[in-house]
């Protein structure tokens, strides 16, 4: 099975994420010593832990092991004699990723772990050029500072740049660390293999995302799982349905959609180019797709939530669109430059069976240029295909009941959001690129809609002139859906 090759994707993703790490490191952000040293969970040889927040400490400050962030915070608080009040009950956790949230609890914890306010040098050191280092000052410098204070605010502003720069650096380091660890906490909830966890941390921290990661992960993996289960549900081992194409199917869509085995056995689907497509192959492939489509619909939660009447309306309207999308995708994946069917037969742009060539005359150029080529251009993958399929399936609400419309509308928004976030997280580096990518996938659905109408006309003309003997089920399915207020067509 060519589809087995999908197993290669996880390794490719791993390499992709490795590249993202490099991008993160060189994106111009300051790399603090803590970040570059990773995220130590325990202290090892020479590695000290801040007693206040658990960050990496660089020695004793004010009597305890303290990181640069807490050291500076404590010093500024003592200098300013600030009084903080907690808005959340006075028991906020003071850990590396949250320490900026509540200064009251942070300062309280500084005192609790033993920081000595008397060790903080007096405020005059703050105005020195090397105030951050606590070096000595000479009288002429002090005299100069006094003179500056009396001139203007601008002068004071300029003179304070150097010590503020030092403090700002500390602040920036803190922010970077907060960003990383905040994402780390979210990632803890992911069902991700342990080996991939560090990669995920680095990837998601640039840029931050509003959407919780677990939700995005579950949506596209869930629909991908459904696709694989339906695709590989093959109780019949041998393809013996080709002879069945001689038996026309006269049962209406509503009946066989519930019992798709009446249309075709579930033999293994092999979208490949092993032989030239004949009219019998076309009919057989059409039927195998019918069974596959019915199974897929019945596996979708949103579809099961619809009323039986709405289910038939929606399924009948979308079956040809679904057929074009999956045949195009699996043809693209198999490397065939034409249309591959589930029974291993294919029709190529040049040559082929005369009846098939006539049948696909109008569709083939449009199919290649507007569906296959974009798939190549964007390197569409399995997850994107199944999400696009869901969006296409739930794209319109015409003919449904009021309850059905709500279900379909909510499903469409859900899968659009999932596709955007999947592209944003895995394929594109900017939001604009992700928007453009998903917009072009939607344009592809418009081309598929056009192909559907062209094919409907093709089936009509082909049957009229007996070029290919389509049975009643195929002809009925390819008729344009009559408007709701028209009298229903007689059945059977």
């Amino acid at each position: 099975m060519n589809e087995r090759g999908m197993l290669v994707d996880p390794r490719f993703d791993a390499f992709f994420k490795l590249e993202q790490i490099d991008d993160y490191k060189y994106d111009g952000a300051d790399t603090s010593p803590s970040t570059s040293n990773g995220l130590p969970e325990t202290s090892n040889g020479g590695r000290l832990i801040c007693d206040v927040c658990g960050d990496v400490a660089f020695g004793k400050h004010y009597g305890i092991n303290a990181c640069n962030g807490c050291k500076g915070f404590f010093r500024r608080s003592v200098w300013s004699r600030r009084q903080y009040s907690c808005r959340f009950g006075g028991d906020c956790p003071v850990v590396k990723e949250h320490r900026n949230v509540c200064r009251s609890c942070r300062l309280k914890k500084c005192f609790e772990v033993g920081m000595n306010p008397d060790s903080v040098q007096n405020e005059r050191d703050r105005n020195a050029k090397n105030g951050g280092m606590g070096g000595p000052m000479s009288s002429p410098t002090q005299s100069s500072l006094c003179k500056e204070l009396t001139i203007s605010n601008g002068q004071i502003k300029r003179k304070r740049l150097r010590p503020e720069t030092v403090e700002k650096t500390t602040q920036t380091d803190g922010k970077l660390e907060i960003n990383d660890d905040f994402d780390f906490e979210n990632m803890q909830q992911n069902p991700t293999p342990p080996g991939l966890l560090p990669l995920k941390i680095e990837r998601i921290s640039t840029p931050p995302s509003d959407l919780p990661v677990p939700m995005d992960f579950s949506i596209h993996s869930a629909v991908l799982d459904i696709e694989q289960k339906v695709f590989y549900n093959c109780p019949v081992a041998v393809d013996n349905s080709i002879n069945a194409t001689k038996t026309p199917i006269t049962l209406p869509f509503e009946v066989v959609f519930r019992q798709p085995h009446l249309v075709c056995n579930r033999y293994p689907m092999r979208f490949s180019n092993t032989r030239v497509l004949t009219p019998e192959d076309l009919i057989d492939g059409w039927r195998r797709h019918f069974t596959y489509y019915s199974d897929w619909c019945h596996a979708m939660d949103e579809f099961k939530a619809l009323s039986p009447e709405d289910q038939i309306v929606l399924a009948k309207k979308k079956i040809i669109l679904h057929g074009w999308l999956v045949h195009a995708y699996y043809s693209y994946k198999s490397g065939c430059n034409g249309i591959c069917f589930a029974n291993g037969a294919a029709h190529l742009p040049e040559g082929g069976h005369p009846s098939i060539t006539e049948f696909y005359k109008e569709c083939m150029p449009r199919y290649l240029n507007y569906v296959i080529y974009p798939m190549h251009n964007f390197q569409m993958d399995d997850a994107e295909m199944v999400l696009i399929k869901c969006i296409m399936f739930f794209s319109s609400e015409s003919g449904l009941s009021a309850a059905g419309r709500q279900i379909v509308s909510a499903a469409r928004e859900k899968y659009l959001s999932a596709l955007y976030n999947y592209g944003r997280a895995n394929k594109c580096t900017t939001s604009a690129q992700a928007t453009l990518r998903i917009a072009k996938f939607m344009i592809m659905l418009s081309a598929i809609t056009s192909l559907t109408h062209l094919m409907n006309e093709g089936v009509h003309v082909t049957s009229l002139f007996n070029i290919i003997e389509f049975d009643e089920l195929i002809q009925a399915t390819h008729k344009t859906t009559p408007p709701q207020h028209s009298p229903p067509a007689p059945m059977g």
């Binding site: 959340f88 900026n100 503020e164 995302s209 509003d210 969006i391 939001s431 056009s450």
Partner: protein, 412 residues
């Protein structure tokens, strides 16, 4: 870093002023946090802290998430506690993101302060300058986008003098002549999609012609298409008019709130046959053979109504509809030009949507997804018109015969 230092230093100066007895201008208060404001910044009175915070957030296109329900208090003493609520409040009080730009006033101080500093500080300064430059080019691009949107607005508002409205041009014209001399098709009467009365046959024909003139004006305004050769230009016009017309009618129907297809002359075609007056019933049935009105209402008008498009989205969306779907049988060069124009207008459409990144992306996608519904309506309408032609229900004019033949051959 230098900019941050300046902002921080100034804030420190402000906060320490009371201790030294320096007088404070009490008349100005920061609209965001209540601190002392030193003037207007980005459209409101803002302190240096909130000014800098807002500028940094816009520059870096940051999005924050509040962990306390989005209701944190933003006051001078607590404004650092939650950046999400602070940024939200900045936008609520009216800070204008588009006013954020490179600060040229700071340049002299940067140069002066960078000179005696160490090498690392110099590197930092260079990085800041590079950032400022790239941001300036983004600003220029925004100006161009605004000009394009204004130009499109002017096209919709353009009208011919009233004495031209009743002139008619009898005779036979081909499509190419009509494209370059739209006066023979229709005068530019005001567009008033108010859906006040039920459409007559004359209303339908008049709107068809008026929409074609608008379509030609818009097509000529697309810069990227100037280099397209004449034959391909005609193919584009014939292929894309139907889709454009559907977008136009549907956006008008959504805005007017009528239950059918809305036209530019104040009339509309009801979706339900029972709403048609008896005198028009016979023709109405034939005009809407495939139930297209009902389909357009369900698949296009209602989604558009729920989205509540802005005027900008409506007019840029029309260009997006013209350019989005491929045009069959044009040259390779033209295909490339169309692809570039499509990318540009998709980006412009995103620019019109003032929402966070993800919502913007999804909204653009939802609008583009409607193209599939438009494509279906174009196919069904082609059947409609073909049947009308056979029955000689409507006389659409000789100039549109090529347009209709193009549709009958499904060249769209």
């Amino acid at each position: 870093m230098i900019v941050d230092s300046i902002s921080s230093s100034t804030a420190s100066t402000s906060s320490s002023s009371p201790t030294r007895g320096t007088p404070i201008r009490k008349s100005l208060q920061c609209a965001v946090c209540g601190d002392v404001a030193l003037g207007k910044h980005y459209g409101v009175n803002a302190c240096n802290g909130c000014k800098g915070f807002f500028r940094r957030s816009i520059w870096k296109n940051r999005t924050y998430a509040c962990r306390h329900g989005g209701k944190c208090l933003v006051a001078k003493e607590q404004r650092n506690a939650c950046r999400s609520c602070r940024l939200t409040r900045c936008l609520d009080v009216g800070m204008n993101p588009r006013a954020v730009q490179g600060d040229t006033v700071e340049d002299p101080e940067w140069d002066e302060e960078a000179m005696p500093e160490t090498l690392s500080i110099s590197t930092q300064t260079d990085a800041l300058k590079v950032k400022k430059k790239s941001h300036t080019s983004l600003f220029t691009l925004d100006i161009k986008k605004e000009q394009i949107i204004d130009n499109l607005r002017a096209i919709y508002a353009r009208t011919d003098p009233e004495e031209f409205w009743k002139l008619t041009y009898p005779g036979t014209y081909d499509f190419r002549y009509a494209f370059h001399n739209t006066k023979v098709v229709s005068p530019r009467t005001p567009l008033t999609p108010t859906a006040e009365r039920i459409a007559t046959l004359n209303d339908v024909v008049a709107d068809f012609r008026r929409a074609f003139v608008l379509f030609v004006d818009i097509l000529k305004s697309i810069d990227q298409l100037r280099d397209v050769q004449e034959d391909d230009k005609m193919k584009i016009a014939k292929s894309r008019f139907a889709a454009f017309y559907w977008w136009l009618c549907s956006t008008w129907s959504a805005k007017a709130g009528c239950n059918g297809v809305c036209y530019s002359n104040g009339s509309y075609h009801p979706a339900s046959i029972s709403d048609m007056p008896k005198s028009e019933g016979k023709h109405g049935v034939r005009i809407d053979y495939s139930g297209v009105s009902q389909k357009s209402l369900e698949n296009l008008v209602e989604p558009l109504r729920r989205m509540e498009l802005s005027d900008e989205e409506r007019i840029v969306g029309a260009v997006m509809v013209i350019l989005a779907d491929p045009v069959p049988n044009v040259s390779t060069k033209t295909e490339k030009i169309l692809a570039e124009a499509r990318d540009f207008y998709l980006e412009l459409l995103g620019y019109c949507i003032k929402l966070p990144e993800e919502q913007q992306g999804i909204r653009v996608s939802t609008m583009v997804l409607l193209l599939a519904s438009i494509m279906e309506l174009v196919h069904l309408t082609t059947d409609n018109i073909q049947l009308s032609d056979v029955l000689h229900v409507i006389d659409l004019g000789d100039w549109s015969q090529e347009l209709r033949d193009h549709r009958y051959r499904r060249q769209f």
